[in-house]
Amino acid sequence: MTTTVPVPYRVTAATPETADTVSLELEPIERALPAFSPGRFAMVYAFGIGEVPISVSALRGRLVLTVRAVGAVTGALCQLRPGDAVGLRGPYGTGWDLDAAADSDLLVVAGGLGLAPLRPVVHQALDRPGRFGSLAVLVGARSPGELLYRAELPQWRTSVQVEVTVDQPDPTWRGTVGVVTALLDRIDLRLDRTRALVCGPEAMIRHTARALLARGLPARRLQTSLERNMRCGTGHCGHCQLGPLLLCLDGPVIGYERAEPLLAVREL
C-alpha cells in the first residue's frame, strides 16, 4: 500500500458539537495508520464524494476528527453514523512543537473551529500533569451555541485556566463578550517563558499575533496553523503553496516568524 490509497476506518461515535459541526470517533477496520500527534491532519475520504484535510481533535485511544459541514465532502462526513466507513490517509503535516513547550507556560488561543486542532494539546496537559509549565486556553466563538466541546470545558477548568468569549451572546450567556484578544488582558502572561499556539480564521490569527507581539512575545515563540486548499497531503498536488511553503509538508503548523511576512502579502 502507498500513501495515496486511503485506509478504511469505522465511525464508532458521531457527536454533534454545534448545529453544523460533528465530532467523529474512528477506529481502524483492519490496518491502522501510524500514530497521529497534535496539530497533524488526515485526508478523509467520504465514499464517492471526495477527500478533504481534517485535523485530529482528540487522540485519547481513538482518533477523533471534528468536522464542520461547509460543502460537499464535509457535509457528507457530518451525515455519517456509527458503523459507517470512511477512508483515511495520514498522518500528514507538522504538529505543534510541544516538546519545546515542556518548560514553558503554554498559551493556547483558538477561534471558532480553530479549537479542534488544539484540543489534543489541552488533553495532553490534563492527562500528563507537569507536561507544561502552565496552560491557559483562550477561546473565541461566534455565539454560545457555536462553542465547541462545551460539555468538556468544566473538566478542563479543573486544572487549566480556560477563558471563553463570544461575539454574539444569547440572553443566558454570563461569560465574556468580545474578541479573543481582549482575554489576553485577563491572564497572567509571563512573557519571558510563554509559548503561544494560535489557530482560527486567518484574520483572527493575524490579529491575535499582533496583540501578542505588541505585548513583547517574540514571534519565534508563537506557532500557528494555516489552511489552504489541499488535494493530496503528500506535497505533490501543488495546491497548498504559500510562497516558498508547501503547507501540507512545511505546515499546517508553522512558526509565526515564517508565517508573518507571507501572510502580509495579499493573495500570495
Binding site: 495515496t4 485506509v7 478504511p8 464524494i49 471526495g50 493530496c232 498536488c237 503553496q241
Partner: protein, 383 residues
C-alpha cells in the same frame, strides 16, 4: 578514452540504419518507444513503430504565440526544438485512476490501481527536457512521500537524449544551464550530424543498460574529428539561442518583486487560459475527481492535471485565495523561477520556451523576468 584535459574520441557513430535498429531493438526488448513524429501540423510525441516515423526533414519555426513546421533540405531527424508536448504526458499522465473503492454493508474496500505501466523508451529527449525529467523526479519522488504512479512509470524508463544543434527562437536553455549539451541522466545520448560526410549520429552511453544496447547496434568507431565536430555543433548552438533569461539570482528577484507594477501589466494581457502550464515540462499540479457508478457502491479516484490559473485552484470555503489574474500569474512565475528552489532545490524552469510559443497572447517568460529585473534595478525613489 576521454580524459578531463583533452576531450578525445569517445562513444561511437551510427547511421540512419543504426537509428532504425535502435528503435527495433528497444521494441524487441519490450519497450514502448516514444519519440517525435509529424502529426496535425506539429511535431508531437507518440509511440513509434519504426524510426521511419521520425520527423526526417522537418524543422520548426518558433516565436512567441507562433509555431509552424518548416521543411528542411538536410533531412535531419532532430533539427527541431520543443513541440507542444513533453515527456510528462507519459510519466505524469494528464488523467490516471489512482484507486477504486467498493462499499457493501458498512464494509469499505479500497484497492490501488496496480495495472503495470508500460516500460517506456523515450527517443529524442532534448537536454532541457532531460533536466525537466530530473526536476519532476525530485518533485514527485524526491521528497518525504513518493508518487507511486510517477515512480512506476519512471523507474523503468529508458532515455535516449539528443543534443541540440538547432535551437529555436524561443529557446533559452543556455542561460538556464540546462542545454544545449546533454547533462546527466540519459541511458544513451545522440548528437546528429548532417554534413559533407553524411548523415550520422555520434552516440554515447550513460548507463549500463545504455551500454548494453549500444553494444548491440551497428556502429563504427568515433574518430576524434567526429567528436570534435559534434561538440562544436552543440557549442555553437549555445550562441544561437533566441532568448535569454536575465543573468541574476532569479529566486531573489522573484521574492523581492511581489509588489512590482509589472504584475498588473502582465495580468492585463494574460487570459489565465493555463496553456503555459499544460505545455510546461515541469508543471505538475493535479486535482482529484471522485466518481461513482449508478449503483453508488463502486467509486473511483482519478487524478487529473490542474492549472494554477484556474480560480478554483486556491479555493477555500468562502472563496479563492488568489482571485485576481495578477496573483495567479504571479504565483505561476514566482513558483517556476523562485519558490521552486525553496521547495525542490532547483529552478522549475528549464528554458524550453514552450510556454512562450503556446501562449495565445505571446506572453514571454524571459521578457517578464527582464521587466521585473529592470524594476528591481530602477534608480532609488522611482515607483
Amino acid at each position: 578514452m576521454s580524459t578531463t584535459t583533452t576531450p578525445a574520441a569517445e562513444g561511437a557513430v551510427i547511421g540512419k540504419d543504426g537509428l532504425a535498429t535502435l528503435v527495433d531493438l528497444l521494441r524487441a526488448r519490450g519497450f514502448t518507444v516514444v519519440g517525435p513524429t509529424v502529426r496535425d501540423g506539429a511535431i508531437v510525441l507518440a509511440e513509434l513503430e519504426s524510426a521511419d516515423q521520425l520527423p526526417y526533414g522537418w524543422g520548426v519555426e518558433l516565436e512567441a504565440g507562433h509555431y509552424r513546421l518548416r521543411e528542411r533540405e538536410d533531412g535531419a531527424a532532430f533539427a527541431h526544438a520543443a513541440g507542444p508536448q513533453s515527456w510528462k504526458t507519459f510519466l505524469h499522465p494528464a488523467r490516471v485512476r489512482q484507486w477504486r473503492a467498493e462499499r457493501s454493508d458498512g464494509q469499505l474496500v479500497i484497492e490501488e490501481d496496480d495495472t503495470p505501466p508500460p516500460r517506456f523508451a523515450f527517443l529524442g529527449v532534448r537536454p532541457c527536457d532531460l533536466r525537466a525529467i530530473a526536476v519532476q523526479d525530485r518533485v514527485l519522488t524526491g521528497g518525504r512521500h513518493r508518487d507511486p504512479v510517477y515512480q512506476g512509470r519512471r523507474s523503468g524508463a529508458f532515455l535516449v537524449a539528443v543534443e541540440c544543434t538547432e535551437p529555436g527562437a524561443t529557446c533559452f536553455c543556455a542561460s538556464m544551464g540546462t542545454g544545449p549539451a546533454a547533462g546527466p541522466g540519459y541511458d544513451l545520448a545522440l548528437t546528429e550530424l548532417v554534413d559533407a560526410d553524411g548523415h550520422r549520429f555520434w552516440i554515447r552511453s550513460g548507463s549500463p543498460e545504455g551500454a548494453d544496447i549500444l553494444a548491440a547496434l551497428p556502429t563504427s568507431a568515433a574518430s576524434e574529428a567526429v567528436c570534435e565536430t559534434a561538440r562544436q555543433a552543440v557549442a555553437s548552438a549555445a550562441d544561437r539561442m533566441g532568448r535569454t533569461m536575465p543573468d541574476t539570482d532569479l529566486r531573489r528577484l522573484m521574492a523581492g518583486t511581489l509588489d512590482a507594477p509589472r504584475w498588473d501589466d502582465v495580468a492585463s494581457r494574460c487570459l489565465t487560459c493555463g496553456n503555459c502550464t499544460m505545455v510546461c515540462p515541469t508543471c505538475y499540479c493535479t486535482t482529484t475527481e471522485d466518481v461513482t457508478d449508478l449503483t453508488g457502491d463502486h467509486a473511483e479516484r482519478w487524478r487529473v492535471w490542474d492549472v494554477c490559473f484556474d480560480l478554483d485552484f486556491s479555493q477555500l470555503h468562502g472563496g479563492p485565495v488568489r482571485p485576481s489574474a495578477r496573483s495567479r500569474y504571479r504565483q505561476w512565475l514566482t513558483h517556476k523561477l523562485g519558490t521552486w528552489y525553496d521547495q525542490f532545490g532547483s529552478s522549475g524552469c528549464v528554458g524550453c520556451g514552450r510556454c512562450i510559443v503556446w501562449c495565445p497572447v505571446a506572453i514571454d517568460i524571459t521578457e517578464e523576468a527582464a521587466a521585473l529585473h529592470d524594476w528591481a534595478d530602477r534608480p532609488d525613489g522611482e515607483p
